[in-house]
């Protein structure tokens, strides 16, 4: 006979304000099988857990139901408490009477009634629960970092410093990412390259770090502790081991008209090139779309001039397969395309540029060697107008609904730097709100206004148009309730940022969930912000949500800490809620294996007794519990119902259905 204990949590007033918790606990006492029922202010607290543990011991409970917040929140907490009291942790069920009840219903009677149903449903389930024991699987002590920007670099360095092997897979020819493109960084205005490049060098020199540049993740198999990853090493047509980075080839290459993507296309570069001076690895790469030899078969000049014979036109994409225990995703971001915002004239006017283009224009290593010259005619712009929130906070469908978070600060930085370097320049900033949460951020912004005299205009630009060679920026000045038109020489758009598009493929390969804006979803917004819901996958940087450099670096280090925490373990407990076939009913029809995304199901021939001394050999399914992730796809495919899912068995769900339908 089941002995079930029910614990109803008040969650302070979060639950008790709309659910009569005392009544629920009272009424539930009469449910068949329930031998103990209690209510308490905070079940998740030390005292609350103590209450549960005590009751388990005193009343010999065989099952526990907790009416509280979402099981996604505290199921693990309560399971642990049960385990400490000697009850199998999987004999605990949580009825979600907060998120699914008290928080959404206003009428007390109604909410109480529903809470009762939800608790009864959990009781119905727990009655059919079986004790489950987690299995074990070994941990491969090597990490993969996808993306070689500041997030990836930081994570890799931290993990490597703890003594674990790390591979960085970077799709571009060099690591460094977006940060390498920046000029100065807010709020300290230190030079981006000065703080980033030493870290890049550290990576290159770290004995535990292997940089796989110009490479992409092609296939991911396995699971936490045991990932097997196939990596495509794209053909760069230059032997990485031979190239010394002397750049002779770049001088000799006759095809010099390729857009310099590192400089946001503001100038050109040769077909064979090293993206920028401090690139890591400092190895050339040939753009096959641009190279005359690769396109027509004629040329071969770089090969002639290469002193070390590093050029190899025959190079093909190659693949390597490596095993990892953990994966960090740090795929970064890109500014959005501005085609949908023709009111700002970005496509029509050379002198309407994005902030990232401005970074390059102001960078000493940029196309203008750090002198601010406008792209159209190379003149010094005298009036510069910044427009913020271009495509951010836009629910009209053209842009992104979220705040890109970094624009307010970098615009203040740009405005300040321009006013400092070129004091005769007039700088206007159209803004909706200036958002500066962060240490020394608001002070920084105020300096731009107060010390540098940047003209901040509260209002949005309605139109940018060309009139007599001037850019006319027409917008609102809401404070003065007027419409202003500013005759400008240069217009800078703070374009919204979005996750690097390749993240979708990466997410699919990793089976990591992704939100509607293509940001990777974290396991918990507050409590597990760097973990993906897919075990063993961690998130660093903008791939998870907009953030600036300090935040990115913190998150990367946090990731590293999580990865290290995983890799120091020799074995991992596996999820015991896995599929399991009843061999006596299995037909061996292979339908379940057909729908298993993890290849967890194989078939074996097994002997069965038929009675009367006869036996027969039958093919039956067998599930590898370390590989099975417990989705249940196989259970529905199985016509005989032989395949079931532990923890979510058909009978359990059926009895939940029965209980929940009961009015």
């Amino acid at each position: 006979m089941q002995r079930i204990g029910v614990f109803i949590c008040w969650c302070g007033s979060n639950i008790s304000a709309t659910v009569d918790v005392v009544k629920v606990a009272e009424v539930i006492k009469n449910e068949p099988g329930v031998v103990y029922s209690a209510n308490y202010q905070y079940m998740c607290s030390e005292n609350g857990q103590q209450l549960i543990k005590q009751a388990i011991k005193e009343h010999n409970l065989t099952g526990v139901v907790i009416g509280s917040c979402s099981p996604r929140m505290h199921e693990a907490t309560f399971r642990k408490a049960a385990e400490e009291a000697g009850l199998n942790p999987y004999m605990v069920e949580v009825a979600n009477i907060r998120e699914h009840c008290s928080w959404i219903h206003k009428d007390m009677d109604e909410a109480t009634e529903k809470a009762l149903i939800l608790v009864r449903t959990a009781i119905a389930k727990v009655k059919l629960n079986a004790p489950l024991t987690a299995g074990e699987s070994p941990v491969i002590k090597r990490a993969l970092v996808i993306g070689g920007g500041i997030a990836g670099i930081q994570a890799a360095l931290d993990i490597a410093d703890a003594g674990f092997e790390v591979d960085i897979v970077e799709k571009n020819a060099t690591i460094g990412g977006r940060m390498a493109q920046l000029d100065k960084t807010f709020p300290t205005l230190d030079c981006s390259a000065c703080i980033l490049t030493p870290k890049m060098v550290d990576c290159a020199q770290h004995e535990k770090i292997d940089i796989l540049s110009y490479s992409e993740v092609e296939e991911v198999k396995g699971f936490v502790g045991n990932f097997s990853v196939k990596i495509r090493r794209k053909a760069r047509y230059v032997d990485e081991t031979k190239c010394t980075g002397c750049k002779v080839c770049m001088d000799k290459c006759p095809s010099k008209k390729g857009l310099n993507t590192f400089n946001m296309g503001l100038n050109t570069r040769p077909a064979i090139h090293i993206p920028f001076a401090q690139a890591i690895p400092n190895v050339a790469v040939i753009d096959p779309e641009q190279c005359i030899k690769l396109k027509t078969g004629k040329c071969g000049i770089c090969q002639k001039f290469c002193g070390v014979g590093a050029i190899d036109y025959e190079q093909k994409d190659s693949f390597i397969e490596r095993q990892y225990g953990a994966i960090v995703v740090a795929t970064g971001f890109k500014p959005i395309e501005l085609d949908a915002f023709n009111e700002y004239g970005y496509n029509d006017n050379k002198d309407v540029i994005t902030s990232l283009e401005l970074e390059r224009l102001m960078n000493a290593a940029g196309p203008t060697n750090g002198v601010l010259l406008r792209p159209s005619d190379g003149e010094h712009p005298k009036v510069i107008t910044f427009i913020q929130c271009v495509g951010s906070r836009d629910t009209s469908g053209c842009g992104k609904p979220y705040c890109s978070k970094i624009c307010c600060m970098y615009t203040a930085k740009h405005a300040m730097l321009i006013r400092e370097k070129y004091p005769d320049t007039e700088v206007h900033v159209f803004y909706i709100d200036v958002r500066t949460p962060g240490k020394n951020y608001d002070e920084f912004f105020r300096r731009a206004v107060e010390q540098y005299g940047v003209d901040y205009i509260k209002g949005m630009v309605g139109k940018v148009y060309n009139e007599n060679g001037k850019l006319m920026v027409q917008g609102s000045n809401l404070i003065d309730n007027e419409q202003v038109t500013i005759e400008s020489d240069l217009v800078v758009l703070a374009a919204a940022i979005e996750p690097e598009p390749s993240v979708r493929k990466v997410a699919t390969l990793l089976t990591a969930s992704i939100d509607t804006n293509n940001f990777l979803t974290e396991s918990h917004a507050k409590l597990r912000p760097v973990e993906s819901p897919t075990a063993g996958v961690y998130l660093a940087g903008v791939c998870q949500g907009p953030k600036d450099i300090p935040e990115t670096v913190s998150q990367a280090s946090a990731c590293a800490a999580k990865v290290i925490g995983l890799l120091v373990k020799d074995k991992l407990k596996t999820n015991p809620c896995v599929a399991t076939p009843d061999e006596s009913m299995c037909n061996g029809c292979s339908q379940c294996a057909n729908v298993c995304a993890y290849g967890a199901i194989t078939y074996v021939d097994k002997e069965f007794r038929l009675g009367g001394g006869k036996t027969e050999i039958r093919r039956v399914a067998s599930v590898n519990p370390a590989v099975c992730q417990g989705c249940g796809a196989c259970t529905v495919t199985c016509p005989s119902g032989a395949m079931d899912l532990k923890g979510f068995s058909s009978k359990q769900i059926m009895s939940e259905v029965e209980a929940i339908c009961k009015k």
Binding site: C389, I432, Q474
Partner: protein
Amino acid sequence: MTKEERIENLKTLSGTDVRKCMKCGKCSGRCPAFKDMDIKPHQFVSMLEKGKIEELLECKAIWNCLSCMACVERCPRGVAPAAVVEAVRSTVVRAQGKNGLKAEDIPPIVDELIPQQLLVSAYRKYNK
């Protein structure tokens, strides 16, 4: 009708959710008739939200609005200031109990140079 009902009525008539406005002023930034409007497009939205409808119902801007819909087109939040203007205008026109313009009053041959949009606006403005 109480004031609250009239406010509600205007909101319903406009069909736009004024609470979605994030007060960026892009509508007024783009408005080609800005100078002639005593109440600016963004104010239409904000004043309706705040319930200041008397001023709206007495303003001249409803007759100066070109109904060009630039404000609607530009709004990053999917709010339609012109629809608020329209709602106020029709409320005023209905209160006056007359139709300003009848189809038969339009000259039989319309100057080809008159932009189509103007005609549409004129209908929208005067013919209720």
